[in-house]
């Protein structure tokens, strides 16, 4: 592959040129209720070319590798149609790397029969609850080989295996329908999804328990978020704001987001760290061939860094971080997070609940979104906290807040950091889902608006 790609690359003239090519094999199993909706293996091969002229980019994606030369020509022609201010890329030493995958139990060595039996068993558990109406289960193992070559002499081949499992139980009592879910897996082998019967049982229990919950009353509350929501908080309520591509051409925003600005209390640290083995956002090189690294986004409450591509790094004169990622070959790399988390503090969960006195404890994750000023996130379940104790169960909550104030309202940081990955992921600029992990310890946050009737 290397010699073929490099021979094609040599014949073309552009300021900068790169070819990414991917070979993907997916085994998927999908249950909805009793019915096995889909099972089997599928194959995908395709590539993406990025060409840069002095002042513009062109990106061409394709499935048919035999027409690569035509596509390269189209990309260079496209880039040359753009005349404008010069685009610079942060400089980078050329590299040559072939990274093969190491997993304990390669899903390719497990028969479809065995995967089917495992999913069937989990799905039966999901359907076993008295008040369970239906279920949804998605299993996938994905084997990806990525080839990267650019006109600066870099060649990187990366192999990766993702194994993920998502389980949902849907409970019904008359007109009341509630659901609970569980996501497991990440970069790694079949072991990640084995022996998860207990998690399936726990998902069933949560769905059924939600039937007894009362709808939340809207208003402002002191909340305690669990590690799963804490991670979503790090991701939605701050992470996206630290992606440099939204401000690198906007002087006004750069002023608002000046490094050193105080966002939260001194004990608050938010970190993006791609090189955590097993997590969904794990990678060694990003999709521009830049080595990944750990970046402090918030250090002791202050804005201390942001995530960059080669272009945003050069434009802002900040250190390159290796955060340009594409969900697949048919998209160009853009600035994205990897594994983003709030670092652990010193409070135990019990202490936090006791100190809060009156408030809401929220757990689990149903979704989150931001417009870079406001954020929302929806927990799966909630509990009222009364007199320092966990009280009644509540549901249908959606939390919202202003990113610029909410971090400052963090009053306590737990000592119990957990990272979460699983099927699904992050969406941005039409690219979804990108595998990421998020996590954190329990957090106490004041004055959070909870939507409700």
């Amino acid at each position: 592959m290397k010699s073929f790609l490099s021979s094609c690359l040599k014949r073309v003239k552009a300021d900068y040129l790169e070819i990414r090519y991917e070979e993907v094999k997916v085994v998927g199993i999908h249950y909805v209720g009793k019915e096995l909706e889909a099972i089997g293996e599928s194959y995908e091969k395709g590539g993406g070319i990025r060409a840069k002229s002095r002042g513009g980019w062109s990106f061409v994606s394709f499935n048919d590798l035999s027409k690569l030369k035509d596509y390269l020509e189209l990309a260079t022609k496209g880039a040359h149609l753009i005349k404008g201010e010069e685009i610079k890329l942060a400089s980078l030493p050329a590299r040559n790397e072939v990274i093969s995958v190491e997993v304990e139990l390669d899903p390719a060595d497990v028969s479809l029969q065995e995967k089917y039996l495992l999913c069937n068993r989990y799905n039966k558990i999901l359907l076993s609850g008295k008040e369970i109406q239906t279920s949804a289960l998605r299993y996938a193992d994905i084997h990806t080989t990525k080839y990267f070559i650019n006109s600066e002499g870099t060649y990187i081949e990366q192999e990766r295996i993702d194994t993920v499992l998502g389980m949902r139980a849907i409970a019904r009592r008359g007109d009341n329908i509630q659901s609970a879910h569980m996501g497991i897996g990440g970069v790694g082998g079949y072991g990640l999804v084995k022996e998860k019967a207990e998690q399936a049982e726990e998902t069933v229990k949560r769905a059924q328990d939600l039937l007894d919950a009362e709808p939340a009353k809207g208003g402002k509350y002191t909340i305690i978020v669990d590690p799963e929501l804490s991670g979503v908080f790090a991701h939605e309520a701050f992470g996206h704001l630290s992606e440099a591509d939204f401000l690198y051409e906007d002087k006004r925003l750069q002023k608002i987001m000046a490094l050193g600005r105080v966002f939260g209390p001194p004990g608050l640290n938010i970190i993006d760290e791609p090189r955590i083995k097993g997590e969904g956002g794990y990678y060694l090189y990003d999709d521009e061939g830049v080595p990944s690294q750990k970046t402090y986004l918030i250090k002791e409450g202050r804005l201390s860094g942001r995530l960059h591509s080669r272009e945003t790094s050069a434009k802002m004169g900040e250190e390159i971080t290796g955060n340009a990622r594409a969900i697949s070959y048919d998209y160009p790399p853009i600035v994205r997070m990897s594994n983003t988390y709030v670092a652990a503090g010193d409070k135990s969960f019990e202490e936090m609940i006791e100190e809060v006195g009156e408030g809401v404890y929220v757990k689990g994750f149903q979704g989150g979104q931001t417009n870079l000023e406001m954020f929302t996130f929806a927990p799966e379940e909630g509990y009222l906290i009364k007199k320092g104790r966990i009280d009644k169960r509540i549901r249908d909550l959606n939390l919202t807040g202003n990113i610029f104030n909410t971090l400052a309202s963090i009053k306590a940081i737990g000592n119990d950091l957990v990272l979460f990955t699983g099927p699904g992921g992050c969406g941005k600029g039409g690219q979804s889902p990108l595998p990421v992990s998020t996590g954190g310890p329990h957090l106490e946050i004041r004055d959070v608006v909870v939507g409700g009737k």
């Binding site: 980019w57 249908d396 608006v449």
Partner: protein
């Protein structure tokens, strides 16, 4: 080539079907007020569905030159697959639909660049502080479907998209306005999209505030799809079959306000989901979903309709890499008689919702929603007073659709949903 693969698959199965998508698109992308990138895509893939010993098998691939692994994977899949409750359709007459525009093929990149440029210039002339980004895209796809029961159909469709966002970051006051148009046909949208953004921008220059509690609300066409998500799930035959649709047992009964009519219409001229056949080769049609507030139909693909003992509504949606599943095509809420200005005049204290964040989170199936107002306006004594923000609104979309005061007189397509603005009795506002 497709015939050979089908024959190979048919050798070991009772029925087989190939679904192939071949598409190309070109896109000009603007960032920070300037032309930034010119992108193209050339996609091709094939999905093979078989019925073997009465069970469904499936696989897909982008590599048409390697049919053997594809056929084997489909056959392996069928060992475990769901029992088929249908037969693949045979050749049928299809109605002619308008889903292709010749003039789009010859449309040059230079012209797409000019129109994007023109819209951004119009915006910056009046509002130089805005940062604009946008995309002008054209696409052409060829869809072919071939099965062992004699069906062989191929059609082409086009699409043209013009979308623009304007962003302004002020300390404590971020503003993002998104507008766009998409259709099968080419049209110069530059002025109308720019003017809509400017109109919104003007309205946001003043600030409004609203007290927590229940207030009347108007959802613009852009915002209405948020409230239709639950209905779209509720009428899905698969959701019904799993007995989790809140609309179970409601056929023939009123489910929303009595002057609401809703159709699923794959024949609508030049709309994004218009096609002669669905993803299984069933001729497209117009299916009444709600007539005068009364639920008329659920939507089905072949397998789901087989399980439910009814017929496909031609709603088998798919890409090449997945099995068909029921989904709405063009989802049409019929317009009413009241102009937007009249609705505004009618409200003493209330809001207009245009953009939200947090849509699709929470218990969508049951209709629950709770969203932050990304772009919304205060109405005071029949006049738009200014932008309201930092507000969470909550409700139940079924309850709201049962408390409609008026439907707007002008409809717009937002993606594949065509709807007028809707005036509702009330919504809950948390401060």
């Amino acid at each position: 080539m497709m015939k050979d693969i089908l024959e190979m698959a048919a050798a070991s199965a009772e029925e087989a079907e190939l679904y192939r998508v071949k598409s190309k698109s070109s896109e000009v992308i603007f960032e920070a007020n300037r032309l930034k990138s010119i992108d193209s895509s050339f996609e091709e893939g094939i999905g093979l569905r078989i019925i073997k010993q009465g069970k469904i098998g499936f696989s897909s691939s982008t590599d048409l030159s390697q049919p053997r692994p594809l056929v084997k994977a489909a056959s392996d899949s069928a060992q475990f697959g769901q029992k088929a409750h249908f037969h693949l359709p045979s050749a049928d007459s299809t109605s002619s639909v308008e889903c292709y525009d010749d003039s789009l093929i010859s449309l040059s990149l230079e012209q797409m660049i000019r129109e994007g440029r023109k819209a951004i210039d119009l915006i910056l002339k009046e509002a130089p502080s805005l940062h604009c980004e946008g995309e002008v895209a054209k696409a052409e796809a060829e869809i072919s479907i071939l099965n062992t029961n004699g069906l062989s159909h191929s059609y082409k469709r086009t699409s043209y998209t013009f979308s623009l966002g304007a962003f302004l970051a002020e300390e404590g006051n971020f503003l993002g306005i998104g507008e766009g148009e998409a259709s099968v046909k080419y049209h110069d949208w530059s002025s109308s999209v720019a003017h809509r953004i400017l109109e919104a921008f003007r309205l946001t220059r003043k600030k409004g505030s609203i007290s927590p509690g229940k207030h009347p609300v108007i959802f613009t066409s852009k915002a209405v799809p948020l409230l239709l998500q639950s209905l779209k799930q509720g009428i899905n035959g698969k959701v019904l079959q799993k007995k989790i649709s809140p609309l179970l047992g409601k056929i023939g009964k009123p489910v929303v306000s009595s002057f609401i009519d809703v159709f699923d219409d794959a024949l609508f001229p030049f709309a994004l989901a218009t096609s002669p056949i669905d993803g299984e080769g069933i001729p497209s049609r117009r299916t009444p979903i709600i007539e005068e507030g009364v639920l008329k139909n659920f939507i089905y693909d072949l397998q789901t309709s087989g399980l439910m003992g009814t017929e496909s509504t031609s709603s088998g949606a798919r890409g090449y890499s997945s099995l068909p599943s029921p989904a709405t095509s063009n989802f049409i809420v019929k317009e009413g008689k009241v102009p937007l200005e009249e609705m505004v005049k009618d409200i003493k204290e209330g809001i207009i919702v245009d953009q939200v964040i947090g849509s699709g989170q929470g218990n969508v199936l049951m209709g629950e929603f709770s969203v932050n107002l990304d772009l919304a306006y205060k109405i005071e004594n029949g006049k738009i007073k200014g932008r309201v923000k930092d507000i969470m609104v909550s409700g139940n979309s079924y309850t709201m659709l049962n408390n409609v005061l008026a439907l707007g007189s002008e409809s717009r397509f937002i993606g594949t949903t065509r709807t007028p603005p809707i005036y509702f009795k009330e919504i809950s506002i948390a401060g």
